[in-house]
């Protein structure tokens, strides 16, 4: 069964068309990358899929269930987890408490053991009892990703999860993504880091001005005229 099916989804803010008739599907165990210049509608698309914005039109299905316009907490409980472009942390709670919070709607009894495992896996055990607000930017990204690990979701949406992260921490995150992928999880990843997209994404969707302008394997996408134009601009004409 298709994990995520987005059909002709549209959303405008005032007169600006942030997402303009986007359709795509994500199959089980895929890692799909979404790339595009800033302001192309990638994060808005995530907000639409996760219920933070209601679409003006179109439908969104998660494992066959229509989740269009449902509130975020219901969509999360249906098996979807996400990270944010700017890490969303519970800054007045400790790192360990942040991880535990991700399990409040799931297996609460087993949460402490899983939190310890995640702390070890992401190498943030040393700061387990520090307030999340005191972490460095890279550690905050790790913690946010750690919460995704705690959620036990079947579909995971990562929004620039390695942006500004130290190469060593980046490798930790990528190893965890690969591990979860091998376990059967499905990912949709927004990224500007083309090397990362090339290394983990089986398929890439390119967005520009709220529309999908190209879709396919990374090698094909890298040669696509739309992609080159979207990232590098059109050649000057005389």
């Amino acid at each position: 069964m298709t994990v995520l099916e987005v059909t002709d989804v549209r959303r405008a803010f005032g007169g600006i068309r942030a997402v303009a008739g986007v359709s795509f599907a994500v199959e089980p165990r895929e890692i799909v990358g979404i790339i595009g210049p800033n302001g192309s509608g990638k994060s808005t698309l995530f907000d639409l899929v996760t219920g933070f914005h209601a679409p003006d039109g179109g439908t969104i299905r998660l494992e066959g269930r229509d989740i269009t316009g449902r509130p975020p907490h219901r969509i999360a409980r249906a098996g979807l987890a996400r990270t944010f472009q700017i890490p969303g942390l519970f800054v007045n709670m400790t790192v360990r408490q942040n991880l535990l919070t991700a399990a409040v709607e799931g297996d609460w009894k087993g949460a402490p053991d899983r939190a310890e495992a995640v702390l070890e896996q992401l190498d943030i055990g040393r700061v387990a009892d520090d307030l999340a607000g005191t972490l460095s930017g890279g550690q905050q990204r790790l913690l946010e990703f750690g919460r995704v690990l705690m959620q036990d979701a079947r579909l995971i949406l990562l929004d620039e999860v390695t942006a500004g992260v130290h190469p060593r921490l980046r490798e930790i995150i990528l190893a965890a993504v690969r591990g979860l992928h091998e376990e059967g999880r499905t990912f949709v990843v927004i990224e500007h880091d083309m090397e990362l997209v090339r290394s983990i994404c089986e398929r890439v969707i390119v967005m520009d001005s709220g529309e999908i302008v190209a879709e396919g394997p990374f090698e094909a996408i890298a040669r696509d005229r739309h992609v080159v134009e979207a990232y590098l601009g059109r050649p000057a004409t005389t």
Partner: protein, 340 residues
């Protein structure tokens, strides 16, 4: 294990058991002192400590919505007043209810009002929520003043039960229960994690499956029920209530200030703030004959706490967490994920 290591291990165990025994001894001694106050403290000090228990419980209750949930309520006097009027009305000679039965009635009424008021107002943030809750309390005060069955501005008299010890133990029990509820539900249960997550980042909390609307209403109801119980006990204690004495803004102001000074969002900080401020209040009354200078001092104290001790008196302990919630009372406006 080698012999030296074994000896060192035994020494550590000995020190630990000595420390535990000392703590247990101190706890038992403190419990005996607290439980025998009416026997040795005299009537004046028993009444002072009864007041400390009441304000400690009220500040802890306010801390549930103000500290743990991050919503600054300026309407908690409404719940205190609802409890007070429930007890006063039901104990009138023509109804003749048992005092103990009036408390759950007041608590249920406060819970219902909190749920109805909380549903729309908890969608507001910062000053908007504070104003909305202040308006609710003010509306109730005006209502209690103009309708007949509350006795209007003349108030109600409650049959006298002159036992300082009874009210001391009633307030003490209610305060202990307030602390137990705060600690067990907000610090040790998954409900507490949900409340604090909604406070720190509502969008993120929702993305993890937390129904933040429901959680915030539950926290508001919980923080309303406790003042209603205290309101009922207080009405019976002071034997006379009127709208200004139980629904006035001063009641809420005290709760807010005590929680801020003690430590917003800490399990026992607000009780510490209540004990300190109520003690100072009574001392000022004894020295100067009124509490005008106390009000001026509280104003200065709040400013000093916000500037120099944002985690309140609890942060004087080196083990306290530095959350600085007091500096986050006015959140940034958000749309969608709040990150656009």
């Amino acid at each position: 294990m080698s012999a030296p290591e074994g000896a060192a291990g035994r020494a550590v165990l000995d020190r630990l058991s000595t420390s535990l025994a000392l703590k247990a001894l101190l706890a038992v001694a403190a419990a005996i002192v607290v439980l025998t106050v009416p026997a040795w403290a005299g009537d004046y000090w028993t009444r002072i400590l009864t007041g400390v228990c009441m304000w400690a419980g009220l500040a802890l209750a306010w801390n549930i919505i103000g500290g743990y949930a991050g919503y600054i309520s300026f309407g908690h006097a409404a719940f205190f007043g609802i409890g007070a009027y429930a007890t006063a009305l039901l104990m009138q000679p023509e109804r003749h209810w048992s005092f103990f039965l009036t408390l759950p009635v007041g608590a249920a009424a406060a819970a219902a009002v909190a749920a109805v008021v909380g549903w729309p107002t908890l969608k507001l943030r910062g000053a908007y929520f504070a104003i909305a809750t202040w308006a609710m309390a003010e509306a109730l005060l005006q209502l209690a003043t103009v309708v007949d069955f509350t006795g209007g501005s003349s108030g109600l008299t409650i049959p006298v039960f002159a036992s300082s010890a009874f009210f001391y133990y009633a307030m003490l029990l209610a305060a202990v229960l307030s602390y137990a509820i705060s600690y067990l539900l907000l610090e040790r249960s998954r409900f507490g994690y949900k409340v604090k997550a909604a406070r720190d980042d509502e969008a993120t909390a929702r993305s993890m499956g937390i129904d933040t609307t429901r959680v915030k209403i539950q926290a508001f109801v919980l923080s309303a029920v406790i003042p209603a119980v205290f309101g009922g006990i207080n009405a019976y204690w002071i034997t006379f209530i009127n709208p200004r004495s139980v629904l006035g803004a001063e009641v809420t102001d005290q709760m807010v200030v005590m929680a801020l000074v003690g430590g917003l969002g800490h399990a026992w900080g607000p009780a510490l703030g209540a004990a300190a401020l109520y003690g100072v209040n009574r001392q000022f009354l004894a020295w100067f004959g009124d509490t005008t200078s106390y009000i001026a001092m509280v104003g200065v104290l709040v400013a000093l706490v916000v500037l120099f001790l944002p985690d309140g008196l609890v942060s004087l302990s080196p083990r306290a967490r530095r959350m600085r919630l007091v500096r986050r009372l006015i959140p940034r406006p958000r749309s969608g994920t709040g990150r656009r």
